[in-house]
């Protein structure tokens, strides 16, 4: 039983990370029907910015949790700006072009950003000052690290904030309106370009937060770290119903859980196989994903 619960906690942690990344895919897809292949790079860039800021602050003798807080906010802001710049340079000029052209642009951006990270940060991994978050506590037969608590808490916090933003504020309404009908939203007074840029920024900010947590949790970041979680998170977004925010969260959790339980009970050799079997299975019976809406609804 302890074993099961321990794996459940592992799954929750990993699922939370996937959910944060998946949100960026799904939001961008929802608003401009683009699979932003460069999204995983924002996750990696966030991880690097985190290690840079946190290490620097820690070297100044700042309290570990203050380092973490400030580092998190700065890295999220940095990635938000990076994403807006990418959108401005690589996607906005192609707004009227075919979807394939934008997709290729996204792939190109992914390669550009990944190599940019390698050239500026070096090909060696970078180590997080993991001491600041080390430790954990024993709960019966369970061992829960502080980092796991932090990841789950921060993920829930960010998801709540995002939900409030999207469903309760005027900005969120503008985002949903732009996603549903770009021409009409312009005619009711929404600057679609601002909203699209904002969507990229929010998605990248969440990915950056995931990047930092992964760095702290696993100890190191590498320039190529965005690829694999990027693909998994994209699968999570599709599983949940791409374009749907709640779906991305659910999809992320499912992929994380399936991976952990497949690894914990069958073999970690097959964990990705099971994650993708679930994906294929769901798409077979419900092609739009778990929370997916009827695609015909979306007029562009």
């Amino acid at each position: 039983m302890d074993y099961f619960i321990q794996q459940l906690i592992n799954g929750l942690t990993l699922g939370g990370v996937y959910a944060l990344i998946a949100l960026g895919y799904t939001m961008v897809y929802g608003i401009i029907q683009l699979i932003n292949f460069a999204h995983g790079e924002f996750f990696a860039a966030g991880g690097y910015m985190g290690v840079i800021f946190i290490s620097w602050l820690a070297a100044q003798g700042v309290h570990p949790y203050v380092c973490l807080g400030i580092g998190l906010v700065l890295a999220m802001l940095y990635c938000a700006m990076l994403a807006m710049a990418v959108e401005r340079l690589a996607y906005r000029p192609l707004r009227q072009a075919s979807r394939l052209a934008v997709l290729l642009s996204a792939l190109g951006m992914s390669i550009f950003l990944q190599n940019g990270l390698m050239l500026t940060q070096g090909q060696y991994d970078k180590a997080y000052p993991t001491e600041i978050t080390a430790g954990g506590f024993q709960l019966g037969g369970l061992y829960i690290s502080y980092m796991q608590c932090l990841i789950v808490a921060l993920t829930i916090f960010l998801l709540v904030v995002l939900n409030l933003l999207v469903f309760k504020t005027r900005i969120g309404k503008a985002m949903r309106a732009t996603a549903q009908d770009k021409v009409m939203s312009a005619l009711v007074g929404i600057n679609a370009n601002h909203i699209i840029a904002l969507t990229f920024a929010i998605g990248a900010g969440l990915a950056a937060a995931a990047g930092i947590m992964v760095g702290l949790y696993y100890g190191t970041v590498s320039y190529s770290m965005g690829f694999v979680p990027g693909i998994k998170a994209f699968a999570a977004a599709v599983l949940g119903g791409i374009g749907n925010i709640t779906g991305a969260m659910i999809g992320g959790l499912i992929i994380g859980m399936v991976e952990i339980f497949a690894a914990g009970y069958i073999s970690s050799q097959y964990k990705d196989v099971f994650a993708f079997i679930i994906l294929i299975g769901v798409l077979y019976f419900k092609p739009t994903g778990i929370m997916g809406e009827n695609v015909d609804d979306t007029r562009v």
Partner: protein, 251 residues
């Protein structure tokens, strides 16, 4: 004030001349009808005014300021709202949310304020909600505020489009066939509602096929045929104009 003036507007799509030297104006408190056979360029006129299409030449001004060349959201911010011939609501939002979105350009709270839900943001949100509710009440949709717009009956969707346009607090309303698909009693109610709109001091430019509606509420009528203005005048003049009759009969 609130005069919309079109001056020698031309629109070309490649080799196709969609509008040729269209000039007319819309004065305060006026209801002007824009009529013409199918393909005459009526919706194109709307699209040029609202910034969806660019005019190839000519200029449109509003309150003395040039609006040709502005982006749609900028035109809306100046006070011109529109509806569509085929309904274009945000299908997965409630009636109330559809109206609230329309006030985007009237709101000033930035992203940070929106995320932090500062007191000023909450006040603003409450104010927007109240105004949207009033717009719904005005169009007789007050008790359907929380319905998802795509679930509303057709007639109500048409009204919601107008309510949404009103929610952006326009000075000028462009209605594209507001009575299309409505039964006689529904279009009578709609005419009454449009009458109330003008009472608010909003001037209206509308495209409409239903002559009863047009003749009933328009102060003036502009007739287009193949992108060219062939007549302009009071309803009774237009009804007798031989060029208009020919354009319709020759169709």
């Amino acid at each position: 004030m609130a005069n919309l003036i079109l001056d020698d507007i031309c629109v070309r799509f490649g080799g196709l001349q969609a509008l040729t030297d269209v000039s007319f104006s819309l004065a305060e408190g006026e209801v002007v009808g824009l009529i013409g056979p199918n393909g005459a360029g009526k919706t194109t006129v709307f699209n040029v005014i609202t910034g969806v299409y660019k005019a190839s030449s000519g200029a449109a001004t509003y309150d003395g300021k040039r609006i040709t060349g502005l982006r749609p959201y900028q035109v809306l911010a100046m006070g011109i709202a529109r509806t569509f011939q085929n309904i274009r609501l945000f299908p997965r939002m409630t009636a109330l949310e559809n109206c609230m979105v329309a006030q985007h350009s009237r709101s000033s709270v930035g992203v940070v304020g929106a995320v932090l839900r500062s007191p000023s943001q909450r006040r603003e949100e409450a104010r927007i909600q109240e105004k949207s509710q009033r717009a719904l009440d005005f169009m007789g949709l007050g008790d359907m505020a929380d319905e998802i717009s795509s679930n509303l009956p057709y007639g109500h969707q048409r009204r919601l489009e107008i309510a949404r346009a009103l929610a952006s607090e326009p000075q000028t309303l462009l209605l594209d066939e507001p009575a299309a698909g409505l039964n006689p009693s529904e279009s009578r109610e709609l005419m009454e509602a449009i009458g109330h709109i003008t009472d608010l001091g909003i001037n209206v430019l509308m495209v409409e096929h239903d002559m009863k509606v047009v003749m009933g509420i328009c102060n003036r009528i502009v007739v287009l045929d193949h992108g060219v203005m062939i007549a302009e005048g009071r309803p009774e003049q237009i009804q007798r104009d031989p060029k208009v009759i020919e354009a319709y009969l020759g169709q």
